[in-house]
Symmetry: C2
Subunit: 205 residues, 2 copies
DNA sequence: GTCTATACACCGATAGAC
DNA sequence: GTCTATCGGTGTATAGAC
């Protein structure tokens, strides 16, 4: 079967490119000026359009945030798909890799983190479509921890809290630093001891 | 020495009352419509003034947020002053009381929590005066945990992350519920085991 | 001194010509 | 699809009545 994208007209593909350019500019402005620190007029300037022309591509400013929200979860899903215990790898080792990967993903782009995990934009609620991307991600996360030996939902909730707590402190109180990131392995060890995931063998540590 | 407040004129005290009324209305609106969900015109309506009259009491909208920010930390300091081990009370017991008190303080007023602990208002930075209230509170918190047996700064950082992580999840994902609140005692136990604060005697538990 | 009235520059969003 | 013009908002600020 031919890829649907191949059948799209030149005009359609040009329109898609413009749409993408708008979203890219929105990311750029959000990282520079903060998620709510730019206006549609400023965004339009950035892509060489008049402000009302943006409404040919998006119904509202929130609709732009919505695409960004979904993109964030798609990016997380991309890297999360590479987590999980390799054959013979101790589960606690895999746990640490995944935990560090998640924290690195979050702290490497605080703006994206704010959009995905905090409610920093007044009245912005993800669309059903975008929200389902976040739910899918949570299900993947739940499956991963299940594979590593976390079967109790309460333990899952506890790790969620610890993991996002460390991330939040890192971003809020030591941006660009390592203060809370350095505590991650210790946190994983404490948690794994609690839920009964065995320690890594000394030799492999 | 006579209390300075006693020497204030009637006009001054009326002015203070108006000021207080404005801040109270700001809290009310913030809880109803969100921290950034109201305008100065709306606030003025609420207290029966014209919008520009607010500038007789506050230099800007941020100045109102600043007073609210400081009040939040004063309220936290009030209840935190009652935490600490009673004579003969096991440290782990006192730890749980303080941890639950903090979490209850935060979750009981999510708007206040947002203002105090998150950066949800664009470009709002607490004044030096208000900021010092938050620093004083952190120092009290550090002293309390020191009294309970947490001497390492990294352990302090770790508990900060766990505590705010649970609180954040509770507010964001189960507002009004108990889902993460119920995990608090377990988290305290895990943490206390890790730092060597002895378990509560069975009889007192 | 405290108020009303008004102006400014900006915001997200819309109408309608081309 | 893109534009100009405009709408009803916003935070902010000042002039001037009383």
């Amino acid at each position: 079967m031919i890829d649907m994208a191949e059948q799209r007209s030149l005009a359609d593909r040009r329109s898609d490119a413009t749409r993408e350019g708008i979203v890219e500019a929105a990311w750029r402005l959000s990282r520079q000026e903060g998620l709510t620190g730019w206006s549609l007029r400023r965004l339009a300037d950035e892509v060489g359009l008049a402000a009302p022309s943006l409404y040919a591509y998006f119904d509202s400013k929130h609709a732009i945030y919505d695409v960004m929200f979904r993109q964030g979860y798609e990016q997380l899903d991309d890297i999360a798909s590479r987590w999980g215990p390799a054959p013979g790898e101790p589960h606690r080792r895999a746990f640490k890799v995944a935990a560090a990967g998640f924290m690195e993903f979050c702290t490497s782009d605080p703006t994206r983190y704010q959009l995905m995990f905090q409610r920093v934009i007044p009245e912005f609620v993800p669309s059903a479509d975008a929200y389902s991307a976040s739910v899918a991600n949570y299900e993947r996360f739940r499956a991963l921890l299940g594979e590593l030996g976390v079967t109790d939902d309460r333990e899952l909730d506890l790790w969620t809290a610890i993991s996002t707590g460390l991330t939040d402190q890192q971003i809020s109180n030591d941006p660009g630093g390592q203060r809370w990131f350095r505590l991650l392995d210790r946190a994983v060890d404490i948690f794994c001891d609690h839920v009964g995931i065995p320690p890594e063998p000394e030799g492999q540590r």
